[in-house]
């Protein structure tokens, strides 16, 4: 009796997608403490995205003054 190979296609698809998500895309950061949050915020100020990295020795022009101060408004 012929093997129902079409039924195995979804298994193959799911395995391929899991593998791709683990290797091709950038894995998410975990165990992020305050230091890592601060560094990712600095990366965002340097490059525009929190995960984008660059190894330029000198920072771009506006970097000295684009830090954000988290303030709250009280009356």
């Amino acid at each position: 009796m012929p093997v129902p190979w079409e039924a195995l296609i979804p298994f193959g698809l799911v395995t391929a997608m899991f593998g791709a998500a683990g290797t091709l895309l950038n894995p998410p950061r975990y165990h992020i403490d305050s230091w890592e949050e601060m560094m990712m915020d600095r990366d965002q100020r340097l490059t525009g995205h929190a995960r984008k990295q660059t190894s330029n020795p000198i920072a771009p022009e506006g970097f000295e003054t684009n830090s954000v101060w988290y303030a709250e408004r009280t009356q």
Partner: protein
């Protein structure tokens, strides 16, 4: 004056665009993001040891930012200097190592192979070695252990 006013977060986070006054010498900030900095961390520690220690001792005296500006400028210049030298001499190994760190949650443990290549290149070209301060005298440092017990997380 005795009533409670809950704070509200501003919808426009506050950015101060005024640069430092001209009386303070200008120094270029370090432009490397977190993964290259983590990769270069032990070499910055070896190369810039005196400046870093000066800065830490100065901060220990007084936490006021204005007190330690001079030592801070020296630290920044030394770090940018070292990163330029690393890029000039060992660019391939440096890029390989920090790209490996970036896909591994910036842990050193899964990236020992690129790290060994980078350490070898840095030692040959610039004479800097990675030492982990506080290693007990008889113990092999973790980055030199051949077959560590813990590997990387299953993807």
């Amino acid at each position: 004056m005795n009533s409670f006013h809950p704070g509200e977060s501003s919808s426009h986070p506050f950015v101060e665009p005024t640069p430092l006054p001209a009386s303070i010498p200008k120094v270029n900030e370090v432009g490397a993001t977190s993964a290259p900095l983590k990769s270069a961390a032990f070499f910055i520690g070896a190369y810039c040891k005196e400046f870093n220690e000066d800065f830490m001792l100065c901060k220990a005296e007084n936490r006021d930012p204005a007190h330690c500006l001079k030592e801070g400028r020296r630290v920044t210049r030394c770090a940018t200097d070292l990163i330029s030298k690393m890029r000039e001499n060992c660019l391939q190994q440096f890029e390989a190592h920090w790209n490996c760190l970036e896909v591994n949650n910036q842990d050193y443990a899964p990236c020992r192979k690129p790290e060994r290549a980078l350490n070898k290149c840095m030692f040959e070209k610039l004479g800097l070695t990675k030492t982990i301060p506080g290693t007990a005298p008889g113990q092999t440092p973790i980055h030199e252990v051949e077959n560590p017990l813990f590997g990387r997380m299953q993807k």
